[in-house]
Amino acid sequence: MFKQIVTVLALVLAGNFAMADLTIEINKGKDDPVPIAIVPFGWQPGVAVAEDVASIIEMDLHRSGQFAPLSRGDMLGRPRNASEVYYRDWKSLGVDYVVVGSLTQDGPNALTANYELLDVNTQRVILTGTESVSVDKPRYLAHTVSDKIYEKLTNIRGAFRTQLLYVSAVREGGNRTRFRLLKSDIDGANESVLFDSREPIMAPTWAPDGKTIAYVSFETSRPAIYTQNLLTGVRKQLTSFRGLNSSPVFSPDGTQMAMVLSKDGSPDIYVMDLASGSLQQVTNHFAIDTEPAWMPDGKSLIFTSDRGGKPQIYKVQLGSGAVDRMTFIGDYNARARVLPDGLGLVLVHRNSGNFHIAVQDLKRNRVEILTTTNLDESPSVAPNASMLLYATQYDGKGVLAAVSIDGGVKYRLPSRFGDVREPAWSPFLQ
């Protein structure tokens, strides 16, 4: 009976994945991932859940690169709670931790997971938890459990419940291209189209509360910045100045938006107060100033400028307008994003002719190159700073890829069709 359920689930799961635009392919992992066993969760008789929760947890932990989940075929038993666990069995399989749990449905609306995390070496339960979601969100339930386990074992807040924005371009007949702004869970599931256009869509970005997004759309045949509420779907055109309207980024408190406008000649950085719509010009230079990003305190911005002859990252204080150059290594540094702690920058760095993603430590001014492919662009950092997403080329197509902040873990999220680019990792979502 149980096996049948699992088989049916596997089919359902496979079906789901075929539908998803992104599939995950891990190409480099950590050298010594922690061995862990996620035992398939027990079921309350009569409950049918549309997803294999344990398998989603397994994939989450695997994708983090820090864990090596034990394959189900190797498991010697299927305990559902700690009292059914024979530590000796798991020790002989070489796993350090075991996760057991069961699912119950309380009433028509609540799906509940009770789970325990066991340390095989000390033979103790080190985490016990209960999580409830509405019945239609088993994946979310699984990601919640993944977050708790990840945090317990690494001391880093888990980011498995976050989401991802990206743009896909699909060539259609007659020299036409269809652009889509897409949103999916961070594992590529639950993909949905937020906006669909015959004209380019660029630079999607999240508001800090995760409820609103902004992007550039050429739908009126010239670039304009739009915001879109994810709950209501309401779109609002924010700017439509002559020339460039690009690179929108919400301030850390969500009340302002930095952007690039070229209405007065050369591209410069502006900040718009979102409530009043009033604009403040932040930089004024005949060179190109673009790609702003906020420092976490919201008092200064970093941006790319070629005012020194080559594109480099500068910082501007919003109060005084004082500008300082931040990057001195490499002849090209652009599209920087600030790490959540403000201590480092993630940027596109050119090294011997190739564009790589690099991280620059702002205290020691050291640059570490994280990626080995070329033409890597648009880095976007996870809210827990453990990984970052970027766009790259693979098999002649634009694909998204992820790399851990220490460069140790890499995986690709190839799209099934079209080119995808400009990933934006969401903040932590409630």
């Binding site: 070496n121 690179s247 020194g308 002859g309 662009e377």
Partner: protein, 277 residues
């Protein structure tokens, strides 16, 4: 790369067209439109020059920024070097005087202190953690004379250099001299830690001395950074000694106590338990 490959193209295209424009001034002065032509060619030339000046200025700005950065780096390096030199000179003058006064009396006092301190603060920890009642510093009496340059930190560095170069016997001698000379020195806990390690690394092993060194470190400095690592090592020494139960208890304690700190001793303990139990 939204930094604007298109923009750069546009800009360079603009420059290019300006040049083409400027290269055109072959003018027939007899034609009636010659005046206008020469006017236009002059405009083109000015435009081209403006572009060149901009480019030149941006390049110069880049050089200024880079030199400014290099100067501030050089300043900092100069300051660092001066501070280092000053520190070394200072230790040279005071160290020579200190070495004469130092030795016997202070060592004796400190040894007493060490014993009583451990009695008050460390006993419970030792009992709980190691199950041992050794709280006096292990005997360091038979220490051959080791040349000291009178500076605590460089004595430690010298001893540590012996560890790194693999001279374990000499390293033991140096660390023993160190803990005798600086019983409450800044690196004394580290020295005890290395003694514990070294007694296992030398041939023949001296597991008793290693155990004593680790236990002393744990009892005297229960909050020191080296404690998790020392507990792990002590656990492995117990194992070597055949005391499997104590070993397992201590390693489990490391995992329980420091599991949430990400200390590398935790993973090592786990690994050791996995392999040996």
């Amino acid at each position: 790369m939204q930094f604007t490959k298109p923009l750069f193209l546009l800009l360079s295209a603009a420059c290019l067209s300006a040049q083409l424009w400027a290269q055109a001034p072959v003018v027939d002065m007899n034609s009636p439109r010659a005046g206008a032509e020469s006017n236009r060619s002059m405009q083109g030339e000015i435009y081209q020059q403006l572009q060149q000046l901009r480019q030149e200025m941006m390049t110069l700005r880049g050089i200024v920024e880079e030199q400014e950065h290099q100067i501030s780096q050089l300043k900092q390096q100069g300051l660092d070097r001066y501070i280092d030199l000053d520190r070394r000179l200072g230790s040279l003058t005071t160290g020579a005087a200190g070495a004469v006064v130092g030795s016997s009396s202070t060592v004796a006092n400190a040894a007493v202190d060490a014993g009583s301190d451990a009695g008050i603060t460390g006993e419970a920890a030792v009992a709980a953690v190691t199950g041992a009642d050794v709280v006096n510093p292990p005997a360091v009496s038979a220490v051959p004379a080791v040349a000291s340059n009178g500076n605590e930190s460089s004595d430690y560095t010298d001893a540590y250099a012996l560890v790194r170069s693999g001279n374990y016997d000499q390293a033991i001698t140096s660390f023993l001299a160190y803990v005798e000379r600086y019983p409450s020195g800044r690196y004394t806990p580290n020295a005890w830690y290395w003694l514990g390690e070294l007694y296992v690394a030398v041939k023949p092993q001296n597991l008793k001395a290693s155990t004593d060194a680790f236990q002393y470190l744990l009892s005297k400095y229960p909050d020191h950074d080296k404690v998790p690592a020392a507990m792990y090592k002590l656990g492995t020494v117990y194992f070597l000694n055949g005391n499997k139960q104590k070993s397992q208890e201590l390693l489990t304690h490391v995992i329980d106590r420091y599991g949430s700190t990400g200390n590398s001793a935790v993973n090592k303990s786990r690994e050791f338990l996995r392999k040996n139990f």
